[in-house]
């Protein structure tokens, strides 16, 4: 993290944790339209492609190649699509649960808030008993607009190189 780290349990940390739990509740409840209200108009939301590489070459995340590379307009388009009667991919919807842990918070010099969290996405559909699991680390930047925090940047660094879910319709 590049910002000034804040204490776990401190006021800002608690505000961010509440924000993240609120976000997870909306996403787990299928309330994507409400989730959009937590997103800044200049958001950059990315899931980079990862490759398996030797240890000396680092983590294998690519800078310019993505599974998802969204802006506010494309996120809004996704939400709108899911509100149609023909978005078969998620109708009937998967059941998704976001487990958010290891929350770390830092203040950036411009007033924005840098947040890292571990995410475990547990997803079932139909009568599946074996869940789809996706684990990763989220690198977020939250910005304050009229007192409320909004998501300005999210990079989801997934652990896998080949993604084993039938689609990426969910929001990380």
């Amino acid at each position: 993290m590049t910002g000034q780290a804040v204490r776990i349990g401190g006021e800002l940390w608690c505000e961010v944790a509440e924000w993240l739990y609120r976000e997870a509740e909306l996403l787990d409840g299928g309330r994507e339209r409400d989730w959009l209200a937590m997103v800044s108009r200049d958001v950059v939301y990315q899931v980079p492609v990862r490759q398996t590489v030797e240890r000396a070459r680092g983590s294998g995340f690519l800078e310019e190649t993505f599974h998802l590379d969204e802006r506010y307009g494309s996120l809004e388009s996704r939400v709108k699509r899911n509100e149609t009667e023909f978005a078969w991919a998620e109708d009937p919807p998967s059941r998704v649960r976001h487990f958010v842990t290891n929350i770390r918070v830092a203040r950036l010099t411009d007033g924005d808030v840098e947040v890292r969290s571990n995410l475990l996405l547990y997803r079932t559909r139909g009568d599946n008993t074996v869940p789809q699991l996706l684990a990763g680390e989220r690198h977020d930047v939250l910005t304050r607009v009229n007192g409320a925090l909004l998501l300005r940047r999210r990079v989801v660094r997934l652990d896998v190189t080949a993604i084993g879910t039938h689609n990426l319709a969910m929001i990380f």
Binding site: V49, Q51, R57, L62, F86, I163, T165, A169
Partner: protein
Amino acid sequence: MTAPLPSSERADRLLAEMRDDLARGALPAAIFGDEEIYRLELERIFARAWVYLGHESEIAARGDYVVRRIGEDPFILVRGEDGVVRAFFDACRHRGVQVCRADSGNTSHFRCPYHGWTYSTTGQLVGAPLWRSAFGNMDKASNGLATPAKLASYRGLVFATLDPNAPPLTDYLGGMAWYVDLLFGLNENGLEVIGPPQRFVIDANWKSPAENFAGDDYHLGTLHRSVWAVGAFPVPFKTNMMGYHIQASPGHSLSFSIAPDENDPGPKFFGFPEDLARTFGTKLISPEQLEVARRSRVMVGTIFPNLSILALPLTEDGAHHPPTAIVTLRTWQPRGVGHIEIWNWFLAWRHATPAQKERTYRAGLGTFSMGGSFEMDDTEPWITVSRTGRSTFARVANFKLNYQMGLPGVGVAKRVPDWKGPGICYWPRFEEGVQRNFYRFYLDFMQANGTYPRTRFDG
């Protein structure tokens, strides 16, 4: 092939019946789920057909490599220190251990982690620890990395075959090459990949997406109905059904959504921006090919067995960005009878501006990838085709699927008598001959009995 082909009486009986079924537009559902059929496909199709490995732009520099699969087997595709592109079976000649442990990179050599046998980027065994004591006098030349029987490249697309009796790649592609040129040859700068591929594993059979991309346009009106609601695709469903279905040569099929005349106000050249389209010409292709491309809104096709090409105008955000051409290449790599690894590459013209490259990439990602508005719906039906295919009912009731659209008397599609390109052409796209062509060639391989299937239509 030296080894005897495995056989299974039940599977071979199913295939024999399928030959008759296909002529009347039926297909046994069991081919999408039968374990024995799948095992035979690996031996009889993936070990014999020309299989796509990658694009030359992925390994532009000497020492660049990527790891790809033929069937389920790993091969290293590498540009050697001599500049030549080769493929090697990713297994050490000593004990069979994987020698390439990264997905891609640049290297001067491949070293086995077990005993240290080391190979050059041209596949030669160059040494091992304490060589003189361990292997002194042993012949290095005959212990290089093993290669596919043949490797060849067409317009930057690199294919390999494990069958030494396979015809040359250009013969195998046959008439399909004319249509590959029609896109890849529009400008002499060529197309290049935008970064390494996305990879997804879904619970479906590899043939479902392969036949879909052979020209299943009819599914857009139902499965992809949502894309019109968000303005992702500019051509209405019914209008988009106007166009050609082409059996380019045995196994390889494709489909074009075509404007009725050149003054049609809709997208031209798959929706490429006008200043790019102005660079398209006849240096590499004929006026007839250029004319088809000019009138094309969509081109989608499958090169048998598992490479598909798609070009069409799309946007990930219809409210803010007009549709622009995206080009995607994908392989449907089998990982068991009920699993596919989807490898997805986006391509852009080398001479496109950075802004054009970013736009086509973002439009592609937002539509034809696993998080995209088009493709996320596609996996849904393919998963349950596979479930139907492995059902007991499919076997005991001999459950057949309907592939009749466009057969004589079924629907409006008619053969185009004066078609300028190679192959068999139908208009409009209410037609499943493109899929039947895929499965006829499939059967030609599955029942080949050692001979190589004919790569030209009879007569």
